[in-house]
């Protein structure tokens, strides 16, 4: 999977036609084969752009910052990224007519060690759902399946899970990198930082991390697209996807197989309801 040339051509053409002000893509770090996001503002810089299976980050995140706000943006999205873009469109955070989206039919990306990312192996929508132009061969329809690690953890005892997560929350340093890297965390002021929430608990403690991460994962429940920007950003290497994937599984299995960002206009599982929703857990 290498679309470097195509993407350079597309970006160059877009600049030449004056269709975009900025292009969000990937460039090499300069010291190894890994990549970092880059914002290209001029046609002469497009040669920096690359795209291959090391293009891991979800660039949709960059739509929430001032560099791109109210500008005409060209953007590369993989399948998972496009779902988060879909949610941003639905939640009126970006305007479709200001975007030029290069969609990728993604073959899966690899981590820094060169191993295929776990979320790519379980990916349900590898092809970009929102796109003006598609690169790559579209995939056949895949079926949702529960992650193996979720299954494993869920099948452990309650005490084991408690011990496991106690360690997770203990190791959280409340740096909020997860939040900053998440394309769907675009609030002007995060609720965790607001006075009401901090009044009784703002401290960097296990308890505070529990409170912050629980609230965060519930705000992403039914919306998280499993792009794993948060995990890549986390300096403590916390397995944050476990919380999201667990919620995703509960929601998928209980609420008419809901998956986040698949349909335009679908805000997430908490913003709709069905008469058939499970009721047996309520007395």
């Amino acid at each position: 999977m290498d679309y470097t040339k195509q993407i350079q051509e597309i970006a160059s053409k877009l600049f030449a036609e004056g269709k975009i002000d900025v292009f969000v893509g990937y460039r090499l770090t300069g010291f190894d084969e890994n990549q970092v996001p880059v914002l290209i503002r001029d046609q002469k810089d497009v040669s920096q752009l690359v795209f291959n299976d090391r293009s891991v980050f979800n660039l949709v995140n960059y739509l929430k910052y001032e560099h791109t706000r109210n500008k005409r943006v060209g953007l590369v999205v993989k399948g998972c990224d496009s779902r988060s873009l879909n949610l941003l469109l639905t939640e009126s955070q970006v305007k479709r007519d200001k975007l030029y989206v290069v969609g990728i039919a993604c073959e899966g990306v690899v981590d820094e060690q060169g191993n295929k990312m776990q979320n790519c192996m379980e990916c349900v929508f590898p092809d970009a759902i929102v796109a003006d132009e598609m690169l790559g061969t579209p995939h056949e329809v895949r079926k949702y399946k529960v992650n193996a690690d979720i299954d494993e953890l869920a099948s452990k005892g309650l005490v084991d899970r408690r011990v496991y997560f106690e360690e997770v929350f203990e190791n959280c340093i409340r740096c909020n990198a997860c939040r900053h890297s998440c394309p769907l965390c675009y609030c002007a002021k995060c609720c965790i930082d607001q006075e009401t929430a901090t009044l009784y608990n703002g401290a960097n403690t296990t308890s505070g991390a529990f409170h912050a991460l629980m609230t965060w994962s519930l705000h992403l429940a039914g919306r998280c697209v499993d792009c794993r920007n948060c995990e890549k950003a986390c300096p403590s290497h916390l397995p944050l996807h476990l919380l999201h994937k667990w919620n995703e599984r509960v929601i998928y299995e209980n609420f008419q197989e809901h998956l986040a960002g698949v349909h335009e206009g679908d805000r997430g599982a908490f913003y709709k309801y069905s008469m058939q929703d499970p009721d047996d857990f309520i007395m």
């Binding site: 869920a154 997560f165 409170h211 629980m214 519930l218 919380l243 008469m275 929703d277």
Partner: protein
């Protein structure tokens, strides 16, 4: 789903701290104004007795209950939480409890996933006419939580009253 998840998640939370003698759990009851709060008032006017551990908070509708309240409760004062609203279809605000129901399920499962026993958070539909049911629900929740013992998980110990 219920069957699978429940099978996997059944295991007893072992109290690490043995409950001190005469320990009584604190249970927070968040009740919607139109059905469950009225139902709990009816329990009172009918003089139906139930365990005194529950502390009731009134909200307009079960849809007002942010999952965050439940997290906050468990993290600070409560050993268990009961949220109660109108029966499906009876919501005073037309559809509030349908939205709430979804959030409740996910919250319950998530807290269970990270190590809270299922019985720490319970939900019920109690109508304004179901005074006896409210007493039964409270008795059950209290009994469940007494069995589990005090909650210490993620408690903020130096909390200022």
């Amino acid at each position: 789903m219920e069957a699978v998840a429940n099978n996997q998640l059944v295991s007893i939370e072992k109290p690490e701290i043995v409950a001190p003698p005469n320990w009584e759990p604190v249970i927070i009851g968040i009740l919607c104004n139109w059905c469950s709060y009225a139902g709990s008032d009816l329990t009172g006017t009918s003089r139906i007795q139930y365990p005194p551990n529950i502390r009731i908070i009134r909200v307009p509708c079960s849809s007002r209950v942010d999952p965050w309240f439940l997290i906050k409760s468990l993290q600070t004062t409560a050993d268990g939480v009961l949220v109660s609203g109108c029966h499906p279809g009876d919501c005073h605000y037309i559809s509030g409890n349908y939205y709430a129901r979804r959030r409740f399920l996910v919250t319950k499962k998530l807290l269970n996933f990270v190590g809270f026993h299922e019985d720490r958070i319970q939900f019920s539909w109690v109508s304004a006419a179901e005074g006896p049911k409210f007493a039964k629900v409270v008795a059950k929740v209290t009994e469940d939580i007494k069995k589990l013992g005090p909650l210490h998980l993620y408690k903020k110990e130096n909390f200022e009253k």
